[in-house]
Symmetry: C2
Subunit: 375 residues, 2 copies
């Protein structure tokens, strides 16, 4: 056999194994779809973190015994499980079959749609109230047992204030990115159960599984037990806090991040380098960081304007950031390398163990970015 | 059968399929190891982009025919292929068996080590010259056919200048993050073949496959044919440019990025929020961005100081960035939301199609970050 023939034989063998892999995947997906259907029928959650952890631990140990990388097997199984968690026709257990009227105000928007879809998949009867439905608001909201406000931040207070009187036992919830002002408005408007929520994910998520939702209590929290259970059935990870703590944290998590990303993009646009040229030079980490900047500008400016302009703490934080940028620049312009290194080391001390662990975490992810690299 | 029994049956079935998956992987890895060995014996490259693309296209089409997601199959195969590309004992074809003396100056450093390792795996004889070996430099470098300078930026020029006279036909190459000054110093020092290179990756990459190396010609480029071929055999993606264009691009790719990341971290440290609290609130995109900041501070401050302080263009760019930050802040402090939105839209226009495509690219990666999420 010459080397061409030998290589062809090898290729055929690889192809056969990969075909077997595709068949195995098809079987597994069909099976997990069946399991999902059964679980939803008997009222069991689809995503069970403990079962996932147990399954992964078993497969890791088998992989090690066979002398193959446990990380490889875990990465593959997580990817396969994502597919079954997010399959399009997934149905979910209904946490409270007594609820027969849910209204999502702004249910036609990106985030509103996600909630409408999930409620429907759990057999709730859901109605949407959009901007041009307000003449019929009274009728649409009549006898509603849960009303969710999912409108842009800048409209939230106005929308809450123009709600007709809701039934005493109706749950009122908003899902905007700020929490203090909407919560106050809801408590003033409605005498029944009130809660603020902030789903910490963009509208491009495939579903709610493993995503964080911040929960801020308003009034009659015990009435929300079924709703919180429903969110957990959908896979959400709930984080309870106060509206003040939430808004303080968002100055860092949303305002500082979105604003600096905007300024970074604005600076690039004004410098006007050739993007394609920068990409040709770029290692995965830069491609990724540039993509994180670029993605901002594919989204709705009003959303970001609302988030940035509505947070007073955020404004003051950005002013201090600008000053510190200036201080760092002074080190650079006076060629004070030693001063820069001292400052760098102070920050490293502040990050502590997190710096090393984030190096590991980001390395895992950067390797995944490398997998995709098109040469 | 009651529901507990039914669920146990389902679990057993999933376990069986996953065991079959682990076995299939073990077979595939054993097979590709054999193929790799054979390829290196007959002198063929291990990573062949066309073959990879062809294999993926075939499997995608089979997946679609079986009604399962082509993206799922592609993601899994890319992850599996990464494993076989980077297996620890991989040997590579030697592009030039006439070369019997390679010296890596700084071969004990992170990047130097990677080169030493790859040359050894390709059957070259490699010697290291470290800081305390300089008394023997003459002897170590005698009759060397390739000398690679892999020392910190701030030492590069000094090290090049103190090299003893090299053989006329010796290839001299540096791998630092700036290119104009080292190239000039090498051309002044050595009358033979000279080339500047910048590997666009950190020392934590698993190997060179799919990574970018920037190549700047110096003198007698035709003498470097075998070396460039060797880099491609190791899987590198070469990008040829001039040292001036390289240094200009690095003002954006390295200086602006590292400096703004440093300032972001410094600001966090001075504001002193509880990191663990921010993490509990955080969606995958924020966890990822915070990890990208944190990872900087797990690394060598001197490396970043060298990169930032050695780029004059970068300093001026950062001054302009600081001014533009101030302009954006003025919009915010004067509550000019309309002005912010106009500016945002201008930047979006500048990014053009890239914004939408980066939304898709980053979404793919964020989903991978979601896979890993520990709840």
């Amino acid at each position: 056999m010459d080397s061409d023939q030998q290589l062809q034989t090898f290729r055929d063998e690889i192809d056969q194994l990969d075909q077997a892999l595709v068949e195995l995947l098809a079987k597994r997906i069909a099976l997990t779809a069946k399991v999902g259907e059964y679980k939803s029928k008997i009222g069991m959650p689809i995503y069970v973190p403990e079962r996932e952890a147990e399954l992964l631990a078993k497969r890791r140990s088998e992989a090690s015994k066979k002398g193959i990388s446990a990380d490889l097997v875990e990465d593959l199984l997580r990817r396969i499980m994502r597919e079954s968690y997010h399959s399009q026709d997934k149905r979910y257990k209904c946490a409270n079959s007594q609820i027969n009227k849910v209204v999502v105000v702004g249910g036609g928007g990106a985030l509103g749609k996600l909630f409408v879809d999930l409620f429907k998949r759990s057999d709730y009867s859901v109605t949407i109230l959009e901007a041009n439905d307000w003449p019929d608001a009274q009728q649409i909201l009549e006898a509603a047992q849960l009303v969710i406000i999912a409108v842009p931040i800048s409209k939230t207070i106005e929308v809450i204030e123009k709600l007709p009187t809701l039934a005493d036992d109706c749950l009122l919830v908003d899902v905007t990115s700020i929490k203090s002002a909407p919560l106050k408005a809801m408590l003033a408007k409605h005498s029944g159960p009130v809660m603020g929520m902030h789903p910490m994910f963009g509208p491009d998520v495939a579903g709610m599984i493993k995503q964080v939702i911040v929960v801020c209590e308003g009034r009659a929290n015990e009435q929300f037990t079924w709703l919180l259970e429903q969110l957990e059935i959908w896979g959400a990870n709930l984080f309870h806090t106060t509206s003040t703590e939430h808004d303080d944290a968002m100055a860092f998590i949303q305002v500082m991040r979105h604003f600096t990303t905007y300024v970074y993009g604005k600076n690039l646009a004004q410098e006007n380098p050739t993007l394609g040229n920068l990409m040709q030079f770029s290692s995965p980490i830069y491609r990724l960081e540039l993509a994180m900047v670029g993605r901002l500008f594919a989204q709705d400016p009003m959303l970001y304007a609302d988030i940035i302009f509505s947070n007073e703490q955020g404004k003051r934080l950005l002013r201090r950031l600008h000053e510190r940028f200036g201080e760092a620049l002074a080190l650079l312009e006076s060629d004070d390398k030693q001063g820069f290194i001292e400052s760098f080391n102070n920050v490293a001390d502040w990050f502590g163990d997190y710096a090393a662990s984030s190096l590991i975490e980001s390395k895992r992810l950067l390797q995944k970015a490398d997998d995709d690299r098109v040469v």
